[in-house]
Symmetry: C2
Subunit: 104 residues, 2 copies
Amino acid sequence: MTDEQLARYRSSIDNIDAALVHMLAERFKITQDVGRYKATAGLPAADLEREERQVARLRALAEESGLDPVFTEKFLRFIVAEVIHHHQRIAENESKTSDDSSAI
Amino acid sequence: MTDEQLARYRSSIDNIDAALVHMLAERFKITQDVGRYKATAGLPAADLEREERQVARLRALAEESGLDPVFTEKFLRFIVAEVIHHHQRIAENESKTSDDSSAI
């Protein structure tokens, strides 16, 4: 990399990506708590109504901040798909654990 | 929503999502500058070597912060695909503009 201007842009992108990774790590910490909570309370992993409210809110925030709302919706659905996948895994582990304990 | 614990979790998720949207808005502002810069300099929209370095760096950051590195790689590739799509659009517009000006 010898192009100084491109290097400056890229160092800003790298800073933002580090922030994004840490934000996502925190988000998944919370959604994992939610997953455990839902599994214990017997709530379903997905909540379509909540998801639609989130999409509407983030599309509005995106418009305010100059981000493409269509991309933002794709982005949220991408994250939520991963979260639901985690929740299902947590629920499966919970039911396995309770099967085990009832077998003891 | 009457469940207080779930509502607390969700308000944290909403705060993080707002931060993510604003970070992404800033990231795309920069990559749009990069796109224009690349189009002007005649550089290609994609740079696979840079992308692989980004993936390796973000996977390491993800491991440090407890985020799934596989998900993090998928996440970066999802963003980069959008960026390349933008760059191609910018390059097309640039070449259209220069066609127009050469036709005048």
